[in-house]
């Protein structure tokens, strides 16, 4: 309630800004990992990129917390919208795929770079598509909402 109605700069608009910054971290870092696995910037050694996962998870938790705050502010806007469930599904799948890439590509330090790329190729492509879907469905929440508030 406070998040929604407070006229303060630090309420709703702050949370939604944090949510956009967190998206930049989470999806930006993931997309870079995917692109590198798919062969972009081959001069960049692949295995050190596992450290980029720290930023992926940081972004992920920022999104969970700020996202939960947005739901608390406008519960019906989310729960009464089919697109919200699509977004949650796509995010879950995206995160699962990122974990699979971590396990299959990055956790075996004996793998050669070419093998890492080969093993991760399909997953990286899938990941890009899923993130695109997740961001798109997230953005569309604003345009598909039917019940912004209880009385709306």
């Amino acid at each position: 309630m406070w998040i929604r109605d407070s006229p303060s700069l630090f309420a709703y608009w702050f949370v939604i800004s944090v949510h956009a910054v967190g998206m930049g971290l989470l999806v930006g870092a993931s997309v870079i990992i995917d692109l590198r696995i798919l062969g972009v910037a081959r001069d960049v050694p692949l295995s050190p990129l596992r450290k980029l996962y720290g930023f992926v998870w940081l972004g992920f938790w920022i999104q969970v917390i700020s996202g939960a705050m947005l739901i608390i502010a406008y519960p019906t806007k989310a729960y009464m919208n089919w697109d919200f469930y699509l977004k949650m599904t796509l995010i879950t799948l995206s995160v699962v795929v990122m974990r699979m890439i971590w396990k299959r590509v990055f956790s075996d330090s004996t793998l050669k770079e070419a093998d890492m790329m080969l093993k991760g190729k399909t997953l990286a492509m899938l990941s890009l598509i899923l993130w695109l879907g997740a961001v798109t469905s997230g953005r569309m929440l604003a345009y598909t909402a039917t019940h912004i508030r209880y009385d709306g």
Partner: protein, 323 residues
């Protein structure tokens, strides 16, 4: 200071700037000086950035004048049309100049001869630049005619460029707003995808320079910068379309004005440090090496500017509500 002041502050930059850039570029070509060519190209791309707020601030000037009894709306629309086509050519010229500039920034091994601008790129940039200079001249003239009767030689005369542009602008606006209720959401989505490319590609390069992920050689990360530039280009195009769609939503919004200032600053930061030979000074920072302090300062400023743009973007509707 009123929003209309910004138009007076900004509107001569593209006119005089492109003339100076053209002169400089010609001198560089005849003197066959690569460093001078590089400076001309930087100036062209910078002007392409500056022309965006110059165009947009025109709406504030129009709002300020709309009740003036002697104002000719025909002339205003003619000026806006000419400005729109000029902006289009300025952005194309800027894009081509950036393409030419790119080769100077690619890290090279020691002893390798320096980069040279190819004849083809030189020619096409020159061609577009000359066209842009001419169009900016027409735009300036149609704009001056609105409020300066002392320079009008033929009363009622309007330019063909302005007439053409004056037809295109409402068409674009109609497309963005009325063609389908989904155009705006799709543009928003693209704007976010551009953001992700920018933050992902530049973020990785910047955090590496700051000292994270040290096993990565900095030079190799330069390959990701084009992805950031593509993201920036997507956001410039979609951003201009938002503005043309709902100009009055943005014009007097202080958050928007700050965002445009940050956009020019962030774009210039990207242009100067990562798209010119300046990048070569960090290119020899190999795996495990510490980047120099000045490079860290640049990386921190880049992160600050791009993340500020995200926050300013998200706060935009809030400031609209305040008005």
């Amino acid at each position: 200071m009123y929003s209309a002041h910004y138009h007076l502050l900004l509107n001569h930059w593209p006119i005089l700037g492109t003339i100076i850039a053209l002169g400089l570029f010609l001198v560089a070509i005849f003197a066959n000086q690569e460093s001078l060519k590089q400076i001309s190209l930087v100036l062209i791309v910078f002007l392409a950035l500056m022309s965006i707020p110059a165009y947009m601030s025109g709406n504030a000037a129009q709002q300020a004048l709309k009740d003036a009894p002697d104002l000719s709306m025909t002339m205003v629309e003619n000026h806006q049309g000419a400005a729109f086509i000029s902006l289009l050519f300025m952005e194309l010229t800027g894009g081509l100049a950036l393409l030419g500039l790119w080769r100077y920034s690619i890290p090279r091994k020691k002893g390798y001869p320096g980069a040279r601008l190819s004849v083809g790129v030189t020619g096409i940039v020159l061609l577009f630049l000359v066209t842009t200079v001419a169009m900016m001249g027409i735009t300036g003239n149609t704009g001056g005619n609105i409020r300066h009767p002392e320079i009008v030689t033929e009363p009622g005369a309007i330019s063909a460029l302005g007439t053409l542009g004056g037809k295109i602008v409402p068409m674009v606006q109609d497309f963005v707003i009325n063609y389908s209720m989904w155009i705006w959401p799709i543009l928003e989505d693209l704007h976010f995808i551009g953001l992700i490319l920018l933050v992902g590609a530049l973020g990785l390069l910047n955090i590496r320079i700051l000292g994270f992920l040290k096993p990565l050689p900095v030079a190799a990360l330069h390959r990701f910068v084009p992805w950031a530039i593509v993201g920036f280009a997507i956001n410039i195009v979609t951003g201009i379309l938002f503005f043309i769609g709902m100009p009055n939503f943005y014009t007097n919004n202080p958050d928007f004005q700050w965002k445009m200032a940050f956009m020019v600053a962030a774009g210039t930061d990207l242009l100067l440090f990562y798209c010119t030979s300046a990048f070569r000074s960090v290119a020899d920072v190999g795996p495990g090496d510490e980047a120099p302090f000045t490079a860290k300062l640049v990386a921190a400023s880049s992160l600050f500017l791009w993340f500020s743009l995200i926050v300013l973007g998200r706060y935009m509707p809030f400031f609209e509500v305040l008005q």
